[in-house]
Subunit: 483 residues, 2 copies
């Protein structure tokens, strides 16, 4: 309905171009599934404000509904190879394999999957950047900004080829490696946990040791397994040696899909904007009792229970009678719960879900149960806990109050910074000089080395002088004695 409305508004605005002082052209490199649901909200707002939005997609996406009438424009590229098999592998992995594994095994398994499919991802990228007709058309359109989900590589490469400034939209990369290495996000290991490890900002000594070791491990592992692969491909495409971080690091703004209601407070760079929950909105009214259920209607079902194929989760969470939310811990759902102040029972499965639930647990708004070992009693006990122990509701309400009390709403902030990049052709005043330093300069390794060398030289010279003086003194004394 929203997109019907915005399609109409878009047409009107296209005619008069009055939505904003500046009507620009936005090119989007999205990621499918829940990522798309989130980014779509930004795109619809951009449309409402009078911008022209073009989305790049391959021909068989899951949720990117390019066939439906929409105010969004689509550039669809046909993949030379079917991706159905990979989709099936992923669904099997998520539902059957990952939940049975430990965190660490799960991260490795998920990364292995990405390593397996990166041949396909590379092929997908090639079918865009080596499609001369498409690239010529895009070049000639003169886009003002690109909005890129960097989870699927290639968007930043396209931006570089088209010479268009770009904004990233991201929840988190594996181990937070992209934000830290390419975005220069500082992460003091004493209170900033490595993402996806389930650690919090308050760690014991041994947890801090673990955090430091995992940080180093993640860094080198991902650099080795993943970055080097893409660097070769990017360098070939650009015709000059480059690194993945060099290209991703050119982002003008990083729109992070969290906020301080969810995050542990940590330092960040001025070009990071935390816009978590931008998709949330007030709930609409619902029928009195209801149940989302697709199967045959159970004969024992009470008369006061209605079955539906699908219920809008946001409206359900915003219903005043909603007491708790059982969730796999996806970011969109977590934010709907925060928005409406509903305590959670988390059953994380893979990716950032374990971490998301760990955050909500640390903030006292959720109880976690293990998907692998859970029984119906576990679920019942967890539900009873978050419903009867009032602290869970209080904490959920506290997070909700924090979420609602911001100077500017997350969606408006996201759109503001995209428009800022359009108006000013970038946002270089927010980009730290760290981007122009090598890693050993960045961490002052050369300076520390130099100062240590100075100290060593000073000690050496002092010792030499001292020994020399002693020798002299001894000689003089011997001569004196002889005399």
């Amino acid at each position: 309905m929203r997109s019907d409305k915005s399609a109409l508004v878009f047409l009107l605005l296209q005619l008069f171009c009055v939505g904003c002082g500046f009507c620009g052209k936005v090119l989007v490199w999205p990621c499918d599934m829940s990522h798309w649901l989130n980014v779509k909200v930004i795109l619809e707002e951009l449309i409402v404000r009078g911008h022209e939005v073009t989305v790049l997609t391959h021909s068989k996406p899951s949720l990117i509904d390019y066939r439906k009438p929409s105010a969004l424009k689509f550039e669809v590229v046909h993949m030379p190879q079917d991706r159905t098999e990979e989709n099936e592998i992923f669904v099997d992995l998520a539902l059957n394999v990952l939940p049975g594994l430990s965190t660490w095994q799960s991260v490795i398994k998920l990364n292995d999957f990405f390593v397996e499919i990166r041949g396909t991802l590379k092929m997908m990228c090639e079918s865009f950047i080596y499609n001369q007709t498409l690239m010529k058309k895009l070049q000639e359109t003169n886009y003002d900004v690109m909005l890129i989900d960097p989870v699927i590589p290639c968007g930043d490469l396209m931006a570089e080829l088209l010479a268009v400034p770009f904004v990233l939209t991201l929840r988190i990369s594996v181990g937070g490696n992209m934000e830290r290495s390419c975005g220069k996000l500082p992460a003091p290991l004493s209170y900033v946990p490595v993402p996806m490890t389930g650690l919090t900002d308050r760690m014991t000594f041994l947890e801090r040791v673990k955090n430091s070791m995992l940080s180093v491990l993640f860094h080198f592992w991902i650099q080795d397994y993943d970055y080097h692969f893409w660097e070769e491909f990017y360098s070939k495409a650009l015709g000059r040696p480059t690194t993945l971080c060099e290209t991703v690091g050119k982002a003008e703004i990083w729109l992070i899909r969290t906020y301080w209601d969810f995050e542990f407070p940590q330092p960040y760079q001025p070009n990071f904007e935390f816009v978590g929950g931008l998709h949330c909105k007030p709930a609409k009214a619902l029928p009195k009792v209801l149940w989302r259920y697709k199967g045959k209607k159970p004969s024992t079902l009470g008369a006061n229970t209605r079955l539906y194929d699908w219920i809008p989760q946001n409206d359900l969470l915003g219903h005043p009678k909603t007491k708790a939310f059982i969730t796999h811990g996806g970011m969109n759902g977590i934010y709907e719960a925060i928005y409406h102040g509903v305590p959670m029972v988390g059953v994380p499965i893979f990716g950032d879900q374990l971490d998301n639930i760990a955050h909500m647990k640390a903030k006292g708004a959720a109880v976690e149960i293990n998907f692998k070992t859970m029984t119906s009693e576990d679920l019942l006990r967890a539900l009873r806990t978050v419903i009867t122990d009032s602290s869970y509701k209080e904490n959920a309400m506290r997070l909700s109050r924090i979420h609602h009390d911001q100077p500017v709403k997350p969606l408006d902030r996201a759109v503001f910074w995209i428009e800022f990049v359009m108006r000013h052709k970038g946002a270089k005043h927010l980009r730290s000089a760290a981007h122009d330093l090598t890693w050993f300069q960045h961490y002052s390794i050369d300076v520390i080395g130099f100062l240590l060398a100075c100290v060593a030289t000073a000690i050496f010279l002092f010792t030499k002088c001292f020994l020399f003086s002693c020798q002299k003194f001894n000689k003089t004394r011997k001569i004196e004695k002889r005399e």
Copy 2:
């Protein structure tokens, strides 16, 4: 005029309390002079929004006009000792002594002055906190928030004694030490220059060496000279051992009087808000030609030049015919120039002024001249440069565009966060866990030590095993040979 208007609005709002959803009580610990001019703008806005604002002051301030009718309330404490002499020493220092010194000497001299007068500052603090009538009255008023300029110590101590959450307003502390040590502001020394050194974010190797050494030096020097003195006093007043950083570090929000139009981009904590230029406003019309001059009218003065005792600087800078701004580099003036996009000729004298001009030089909007050695030709050449070389005007205009293109105006953001602290009784969700770590935990010294010890033990054990095996092997061979 503003204060007359706001006094009226205040009276009306006091009657109906409609300025905001929540009308609160604000207690202010200000610093005099230009600091006061800046903070007053925030206070007037708080008044307009219906809050009750009480300012603490001693009886002989310079610019804190507590005798004039105003919507602000004042709590005036009579100092047992006259401060006129110290004011005179300061003026002499600023005008005659400091400009003749190098940066480094100037910083030391200025700090020496503060060390000299801290007896008076301590006495001033005592005359507030040990004034039982006043403290009882303040306690009973139940303030919702304190707004504190930490350049003069004591405000944070009062907040602690009154158990009121507080917000700091600050341009910069000496060497940035307070923000870094007490506010946990990260400062990677490779691209974040130590303030007041004139260094920028793009440093040569030797400048980075200098920056690192100065950072360490500043830290220990200020800890030794200043912090220990106040720690003893604070501990006595609170009746328990404390540090200055522990008390200052309890600030809910740090309102910094700069923004990214002026600052070099650097990482910061979520409870830092950059509200530079909050006092700026559009210029009012001026007469056609004019000159601020207090002395006797020169006989050679042309008929087209008018003399005035005082001209509002902001209106002058906003005049379309203003080509350049000759400034000592005070923060308020710099921001008026940024606001109106006027290039500058900087003649820094002391404090943060050298640094302020260094920032504007690095951003291409100013030329600097040395106050100590300058001749009229130098001034003329500098003026000609910023007027005729169009890059200065372009850069000043670029900074101005950045300044004006923010999602929320600086003054509104400052007031928003003060009101946020009132509404939520703090802003703990923005306070990083770094505050609860010791310095060696914060910098992971213990973790690094532990890991190095592990590596050393492993090497030791490996070597022992290897040597033991070699010995065994040799013995066996010897026995074999004998046999």
